[in-house]
């Protein structure tokens, strides 16, 4: 956990800002879903193509599984967002976030030949913002900042004493 001390101030600041921005994004995504009672992952999953489409079809076909997925998704986003912003269990949050976003990506990858009925807000070929954000979170997990700039400081202190 001595990584932080090897960074220059600018490197450290950039990493912390990146962490806060991604945290903000995921937390708000989660809150929006929480506030919208009619939100369900069903629409997204019904668009699923490529390797995860079988899994998605199974989730949609079973309403209790769909409810669990909706719950985990909403609260997962909120927990990951809080973790990244507060720097609490930030490494776990970043890894979990990367996995979640990779799951989104592999459900709807912008590959040639896959057509979606909902238009995207940008132009993507293979690489999408979701994929980039996932990799950015992998970077956050590897270059951790939370034991100085985050509540993980208290946890590392507790461990020492």
């Amino acid at each position: 956990m001595k990584n932080e001390q090897k960074y220059t101030t600018l490197q450290l600041t950039t990493l912390v800002v990146l962490r806060l921005l991604i945290g903000w994004h995921l937390l708000y995504e989660g809150l929006s879903k929480l506030y919208n009672p009619s939100w369900s992952s069903k629409g997204f999953l019904s668009e699923s193509q490529w390797i995860l489409s079988g899994f998605s079809d199974w989730v949609i076909s079973n309403s209790s599984v769909l409810n669990v997925v909706d719950f985990l998704n909403t609260w997962g986003l909120i927990a990951i967002g809080l973790g990244l912003i507060l720097g609490l269990f930030a490494r776990t949050a970043a890894i979990a976030g990367a996995l979640l976003l990779l799951m989104y990506y592999f459900n709807n990858p912008p590959l040639i030949g896959l057509e979606y009925s909902v238009p995207t807000e940008g132009n993507y070929l293979v690489v999408s913002k979701t994929l980039i954000e996932a990799v950015a979170m992998v970077a956050l997990a590897l270059f951790s900042t939370s034991s100085v700039f985050g509540l993980d400081y208290f946890i590392s202190k507790l461990k020492k004493s």
Binding site: G23, S64, L86
Partner: protein, 532 residues
């Protein structure tokens, strides 16, 4: 001096602690860097929520739509339903399965399928209507067996005690109508039997739930009307669409004149599959579905129609021939007509002209696969248009066009202001609303009025009309329609799709069919109650 030294020492000591404390404070502050960010997010979220609410409120309030609410009464009190109603099912094909489910009866196989897919629980929450299916009548042994198994299934909503009344199979409908132990019948046969059975049932004093279409021949129209009117039975036609929350909201919108003067209503059918074109006699692997002359009483199936040899094609795909049905007019336009008539109460058209042809499904059919009918209502200053096509599925929707706004009514509602509207001139000029996007959408999933939603939300909400959401719960619309029929049997009130509406619909579809067959415009003679 000694004192001085001591003082110096103290000074140094305190300097050390002060710097130590400030280092610690800085470390603490660093660790808490996320807290102000979280605060900023909370502030932004609160700001955004109040902005969204005020924007929605403003549009919704200016249109006077702030108090449109979804109906909340779903269950009748046990007092209202103390008398058991004994129901006989006439015809037990696919539609009867759906009607049974709406009554609270599933085939054991469907119970299992629903349990496996996790949808059984939702069905079990349906209101127990205190009915027993005590009679099954079908010309096909296999279907009758399905009916008996369904009626005997003890897995029921509300978990009532098993019925002590045995379930009986009747070999023909007259036998069922003669039985004093049947109170009401549900008719879900091919269409050429609907009116004859309904007329006989009314005369026998049995309450009637009849699938569309109500009539096939002109003589049946007045005969059915008179038979029901002379009896005390409750007649309900099978158009469940009015039970959708969305529909009730559309009714409010029309009532409050949000659209302005409506002069044109466009209704459509857009299908592009063999099943959609009523080719339904094959299973998934292309093999013929079951049924032969041994297991099907073909004479009875034909009824009073001309003799034709039995074929699996004719038995399952009867919609293709005019002897048994009116094709798109009978199967699909009836739903459209009911939706429009329930909203606008336009009744019987003054004139109808239809045209079309068999342009794609060139099999042995008589009914057109491309059909367009124009219904004129000079007394309402309105034209109703129907355009059906079975070889393209581009969704053209159901659109009500008023001087001030256009309403598209499907699984959801979207209302778009007209650029030249008089009523919304001010709001259009201010840029609060624009003709390029809906000013109001109503989403069946929330049952709430929702002004200005995203394109994606709109896209998803436009699907599905089989269920509606009441108080956040998914409810089968057919259940609500059947429930209304049962409630009206007990209370003696008139249901929504009553005999008056059925008469208007019957007249409209007979006119459309006659116009297509005779290739001319037909008129309604209101004095003699006939088509000329």
């Amino acid at each position: 001096m000694a004192q001085d030294k001591n003082q110096n020492k103290d000074k140094k000591g305190s300097e050390k602690t002060a710097s130590g404390m400030s280092i610690q404070r800085r470390t603490l502050l660093k660790a808490m860097v996320g807290v102000p960010v979280l605060g900023a997010l909370a502030f932004e979220v609160a700001q955004k929520n109040s902005y969204d609410i005020s924007k929605k409120k403003r549009i919704v309030k200016e249109l006077g739509l702030n108090d449109i609410e979804a109906p909340s009464i779903l269950k009748s009190s046990s007092k209202d339903k103390r008398d058991l109603i004994r129901v006989g099912m006439i015809g037990f094909g696919n539609r009867a399965k759906a009607l049974s489910s709406a009554l609270g009866f599933l085939h054991p196989l469907d119970t299992k399928n629903r349990r496996d897919s996790g949808s059984l629980e939702n069905w079990l929450e349906q209101d127990d209507l205190n009915v027993a299916v005590t009679g099954i009548c079908d010309v096909f042994d296999l279907h009758a067996e399905n009916g008996l198994a369904t009626a005997r299934n003890e897995v029921r909503p509300g978990n009532p005690p098993a019925s002590s009344i045995p379930v009986k199979r009747y070999l023909n409908y007259q036998e069922m109508l003669d039985d004093k132990n049947i109170d009401a019948v549900m008719i879900a046969t091919p269409d050429h039997h609907h009116a004859p059975i309904a007329i006989a049932a009314a005369r026998a004093g049995k309450h009637i739930y009849c699938e569309k279409s109500p009539v096939q021949r002109e003589w049946e129209l007045n005969a059915l009307y008179d038979a029901v009117k002379e009896s005390k039975v409750t007649y309900q036609l099978g158009h469940q669409i009015t039970k959708n929350v969305i529909f009730q909201q559309a009714k409010e919108i029309v009532k409050r004149d949000i659209l302005g003067k409506i002069t044109l209503v466009e209704t459509t059918t857009n299908r592009n599959s063999a099943s959609g074109a009523w080719i339904r006699h094959l299973d998934k692997n292309g093999n013929l579905l079951p049924g032969d002359e041994k297991s099907i009483d073909w004479e009875q199936w034909l009824g009073n129609r001309p003799q034709k040899p039995f074929t699996v094609d004719r038995y399952y795909n009867w919609t293709k021939w005019f002897d048994y049905d009116m094709g798109m007019i009978g199967q699909l336009f009836t739903h459209e007509f009911d939706a429009v008539n329930q909203l606008l109460r336009i009744g019987i058209p003054a004139t109808v002209s239809s045209s079309g042809g068999i342009y794609y499904w060139k099999d042995n059919r008589e009914m057109p696969d491309s059909l367009h009918c124009v219904f004129e209502y000079p007394n309402h200053n309105l034209t109703l248009l129907y355009s059906g096509n079975l070889a393209n599925s581009n969704n053209r929707g159901r659109v009500f066009m008023g001087h001030d706004a256009t309403m598209e009514l499907g699984g959801s509602i979207s209302i778009t202001p007209d650029g030249s509207s008089t009523r919304y001139k001010k709001q259009l000029a201010e840029g609060i609303i624009s003709p390029s996007e809906p000013m109001i959408t109503m989403n069946p999933n929330s049952g709430k009025v929702d002004a200005v939603t995203s394109a994606t939300e709109k896209y998803y909400s436009s699907r599905g009309l089989t269920n509606t959401f009441v108080n956040g719960k998914k409810v089968d619309v057919t259940h609500l329609h059947v429930k209304e029929w049962i409630d009206c049997i007990r209370s003696g009130e008139l249901p929504t799709a009553n005999i008056e509406r059925a008469y208007e619909e019957g007249a409209a579809i007979l006119m459309a069919q006659k116009s297509y067959l005779e290739k001319r415009q037909v008129k309604w003679d209101p004095v003699n109650k006939k088509i000329v």
